[in-house]
Symmetry: C2
Subunit: 107 residues, 2 copies
Amino acid sequence: MEEQDIIRALGALAHDIRLRVFRALVVAGPEGMTPGRLGEALTVAPTTLSFHLKELCNAGLLLQARSGRNLIYRADYARMGALMAYLTENCCAGDACAVTPPSCTNC
Amino acid sequence: MEEQDIIRALGALAHDIRLRVFRALVVAGPEGMTPGRLGEALTVAPTTLSFHLKELCNAGLLLQARSGRNLIYRADYARMGALMAYLTENCCAGDACAVTPPSCTNC
DNA sequence: TCCATAATTCAATTATTGTTGAAATGTATT
DNA sequence: AATACATTTCAACAATAATTGAATTATGGA
């Protein structure tokens, strides 16, 4: 992941609506969610939501697919993982930022 | 760390100069760096650099101290760690985003 | 005290982002 | 084909962030 992509991804997540959208999609899992359901769950107007979904897509954090007349948005876990990896490698030092994932608690 | 703090931290890092500044300070370690050295190393004008250092401070990612007529900026590793923890817990799912830190490679 | 250095603050300007409602697109149903 | 629904695109506007040079604050040394 290029530095420019990192900046775009960070910028995309640095907004309350977008962070909430992304979290909701992470929770939703592989099934994803439609803009309709998202807007209902988060109380965001369709136009506003569409704008932010596009931002997240452009940043590469979401994947879009069509199902009938609905669009389905999904979190791109691989992209998020790449972002985490970048931050861990470049913006952390020593143990200070060492985040211990659940699977490693016994290390 | 409150959601609002997360957004500010992400927003602070979502800028090329600020990301480079933060990385340089992470690399510099506990000794930190002065704006003078940073500006030299990164080729950023004093006023511009000062603006971005302030942004990073406001976001809680940097610590500031004075030493004679120099100011010394340091990365706040704990804050960065808290940011990483938040993202790991809230924006990742399953193994897809599981970042394996160096110390855990044998797990 | 006076000067030089390090860095910040201020104010004006420009550029980028975010919001909103109206209009348009695409798809399913009858 | 006609209608309804889900969603996006467009265009105008409002708000926020970034850049720049000049002026200011703070410290140390002659």
